[in-house]
Amino acid sequence: MFYREAGDFKTSYQEDNQTFPIRFDRYRYYAVLAVGFLVIPFLINDYWANAILLPFLIYAIAAIGLNILTGYCGQVSLGTGGFMAVGAYACYKLMTAMPEVSMFIHVILAGGVTALVGVLFGLPSLRIKGFYLAVATLAAQFFLVWLFNRVPWFYNYSASGQISAPERDVFGILITGPNTQAWATYLFCLIFLTGSAIIARNLTRGKLGRTWMAIRDMDIAAEIIGVNPLRAKLSAFAASSFFVGISGALFFSVYLGAVEVGEAFGINKSFLVLFMVIIGGLGSIFGSFAGAAFLVLLPVALKVVGVDWLGWPTDIVAHLQLIIVGALIVAFLIVEPHGLAQLWRVAKEKLRLWPFPH
């Protein structure tokens, strides 16, 4: 009734390979894009931009990145925080070394640097598997954080060891620094998110995506039918780190503006992004969005309800928040282990059959 695909026929394989083969979905996608690009920038204020939208957009990019590695290629990584730090520090070094270059280029280059580092730390994945690998990626996490903390070159020998983003622009519009406009930073991140999502989608629906999924589902069989596991895994590490690096660069330069590596890119960050990916749905780009939105909004929502509406003491609310987030994560996994994306899929399937139960 509400959701039909009948009568929506495809006459070529190109059409069948589209991201949104169902017309209804396609229109909805265009509508969301239009709202994101044309409506929200006019409504946005500092609070929405800095407290909700920017973190959402940036975490969504990181989640897409991790989803490629964990959701598509099956390599659980707990080094996301470390890789985000690489993106941030690369961006910082580029920004300060080449002030006149556009931020766009810096952010993309930062992604590229992170991809290289990612490949390096991906090398052991050829031998180490499963949770052993997950724990092994913590080596990247701790080592990178230590390195950025330890070597003054990375923070330009500043006395405090922190890095702060100087003012930089794109086509004359300020993107970093204190004097930015909410809409500008928002749009900048949105462009990166949209680009990341499209690229990630393209990568995952074609040859590379299948290579990754084959490795994820059964690596031995994949190798026997002709997948080079080293290349598959390393390309996943590279692609994943690229996006994670971009998100780290944005996280530092556009969102926070100043970071200290241990605090901003500590192990908690790794877990947070992993949560997003799993709650959203492993192996789903949409899931990365959903997971990021959920984990950015939930604490804020709980805080608004607890502190602003109910007027409870902030610490009790904060403890309850932990309890609720924890319980919700477990509840979600129980209801739908494959995440919000799967929940959405099942809902659609039900709608399609509606009003018949099966």
């Binding site: 099942v346 399937e349 039900k350 059959l353 099966h358």
Partner: protein
Amino acid sequence: MLDIAAGTETQVETLLEVNNIEVIYNHVILVLKGVSLNVPKGGITALLGGNGAGKTTTLKAVSNLLHSERGEVTKGSIVYRGKRVQDLDPAELVKMGVIQVMEGRHCFEHLTVEENLLTGAYTRGDGKAEIQRDLDLVYTYFPRLKERRRSQAGYTSGGEQQMVAMGRALMSRPETILLDEPSMGLAPQLVEEIFGIVKDLNEQEGVSFLLAEQNTNVALRFAHYGYILESGRVVMDGPAADLRENPDVKEFYLGMSEEGRKSFRDVRSYRRRKRWLS
């Protein structure tokens, strides 16, 4: 329906009764659309049908393993010895004497063959000596297992794993065994042996069997009663001897036609089509 074991004309008690059950996976996929069947005490009941007919699902519904596959019985009832067992824990069902040998072996990879067998005796409380006796019994059934008793089950061959799974079930001294495709992947000699064991257990120890099989030929040779399942429904049932003589069964499940057995090389020139399908 007849609650009669083939060959004997005496009325026997129904052990397991499945009444018109429906099973749905993942809340949306309807797999069993009303399946009813009876397993008499001391009988071997075969459940036949093509791929995806729902044999495995039926067995899992009985042994309550559906939950862990995100499936549920939405309609109908399953009664064992007069007791509704749908809401029981699988472990309790094993204690009641119902054990399933799962399709696709499912050995404990990291345990040795012998440890695998011993887990089968988990629910038993009758002492080491008894368990040891049964272990020896299993080894006499499957001498190959004795040779490989110290290897990790994960490294044994497909057929050896099948033996482990079977032996493990026997170790629980069951009253009813749900056997899912026991012959799959076994050498012909071994298939005979396994069914021989089934027959032995049935006749000597009075163990009842519910047997899902693709190898109709063998299954109908050993079973007393058979049900044929197609797309989640029982389409035919009757004493095994009758089924064996049924022309449709002969044609589609036994591969015999009027002219006798066809060579597999000839398949390119003909194709069986079920009368009741298209």
